[in-house]
Amino acid sequence: MLSRRTVTCAAVLFIAGSLGTLASARAQDTLKVGLSAPMSGPAASWGIHMKWGAEKAAEEINRTGGIKVAGKAYKVQVIAYDNKYNATEGAKTAQLLFNRDGVDFVIGSLGTAPTQALQSISEREGKLLFTTAFGKALKGPKFPLTFTQLNTPVELLPQMYGYIKKVHPNVKTVALLNPNDATGQDTEPQSQKLWKSLGVEVVSSDWFERSTTEFQPIVSKFARLKPDIIEITNGPPTTAGVVYKELAVQGWKGVKIVVASSGERDFVTSGGPAVEGTYVGNAADMTGQAATDLQKRLNKLVMDEIQQPLSPLTLCTWDSMMALKAGIEKAQSVDPKKVAAALPTIVFESSWGPAAFGGAENYGTPQQMLIPTVISQIQNGKPVEVLRVLPKELEEKLKTKK
């Protein structure tokens, strides 16, 4: 005959065990997401912004209950590595993320060369990849698991060049300065073709290594050629600032363009008064009237935490994280291939407002995040929006959804 004490103990143990099981059934799984971006070197501010945006988005998702799939709630954890904007580190980052950390989703990668290294593994192993990389060849039917989270030259340049030619109708010549890597090599032909179509002659197209700190020789060449426009296609903000500063010293005056901005504070600090009037792509005033409430809130937060204003690069990882959440919840699966199939069908809430994926006309498949194209001009040391264009394809998708 069992004693009362024994029965009581058994009952307590049974209840405790049941409660424990119940708790673990409700316990959250963790979804690890990766980020590959430069966190050192001239482009470090871009990577730091992307990491901040990703971590803030993860906090927001976790705070609001996580990503819900078939009764389970997934917490999000960001794992970020420095790809140093080169293919070697990009490959190392890819190995770490996919093979060591077991990541199935990369919510941001910057730099065409490191992204290509990442993509060579992600597509083969069925992992989903978001990238800001400008390389047009990164997307398409051969790479069904790759999505772009920021406007690229395909979206930016026609709007930017068209606007500049309208505002400065007398410009006849342009000199291009391109980084000597996959990003520059992919963007430069697009720039050449577009300028020629607008009747602007490309008088010089030169290449620099991203690690270059002395630009006097190339600046002397530009000063000698006296082009109407000098465009830096993909230089990081500090590099672009230094180039324009040297150009001002050697007496060049003309239209200045930086296609890939994002990091205007560094641009203005390194270039000083010489960068006044520069047209910058992928740059927006996040305190202005056109900024959304979310962008204004995030801007205040990023200024408090890392003393840098919000930029589209800060937002691109926030947006890709929200897109990923929406895609997983639509697919009701954490299988990257199922999520990739769901992404082109969703409209999700990005930092810019409702957004979707499209761009099949340009890339063959709808892998481009459809967000406004914003062109700004540096006025009194700050970016002031001069042009904002919502993609027509997005407008149509939003009408259809209504």
């Binding site: 050192s40 001239p42 470090a44 290449w207 020789p217 002397s220 050697q250 560094d266 390194s270």
Partner: protein
Amino acid sequence: MLAQLLINTLQIGALYVLFSLGFTLVFGVMKVINMAHGEFFAAAAVVTSFLVGLMTMQLALPSWLVYLAASIIAAIVVCIIGALVYLFGIRFYIKDLVGSFILSVGVLLVIQGAVLQGFGGAPRIVPPIFDGTTEIFGARITTNRLVISLAALLITFATYLALQATRWGKALRAVAEDAEAATLQGIPRRRVSFVGFMIATLLAALAGILTISLAPITPAIGEEYLIKSFIIVIIGGLGSIPGAVIGGFSIALIESVVGAYWDPSIATIVMFALVIAFLIFRPQGIFGRAA
């Protein structure tokens, strides 16, 4: 245009020479290849730029005093690092090219990692010390760059004079010429090697400090200078001070002229083609001695 090209050569070459001077000195005296030389340069630049930013915010001091104080502190810090690297590493690999190369690569990674961890990877921008632009025979250069280039040349000249005219300088040259003979003459070879290494470290630190207001400073800034330094000492001659000067300005001239008339990437090709030519036809460089 010619004047501008020469001014460009001066401002680029001055810092290349100062940087390479230390690199070639270490080889000349100790027959050691110090791959961490670029990290001494970078560490000095990062520490100085960090301190300038901090002191500007926290202390109400004139900017020249802030720069001076930050520079002195950074130089001391880097010299301490250099001393530790020598005492716990390099001195065991004197006259061992392969061993010193491998050791110094390890030191490079440690210092770069430590600087990255301690100060972050974001570029630091320091305002120029001197404002304005100067015109020389029609060529334009910022006053800041002109002063810094002249300072670099002055330090180079002072180093050359010290090596020629002082007891330690003569001892260094004696050890570089023939270590065994120098020892037989009573020159303390190990102490001279240490002094030589510290002078080289200080020269790298000074080059780094002078760079802070010229370019955005990142922990990786030393890599570009180290690669150029290799080219310079191959052309000028490993262990040769005049060789470092001629090599430095030669490279700067190539960058200026080829970059201005063609492309910076073509300038890089020309430089490496020149290195290959020297290695084939005159491997000891312009002023080096044949083996």
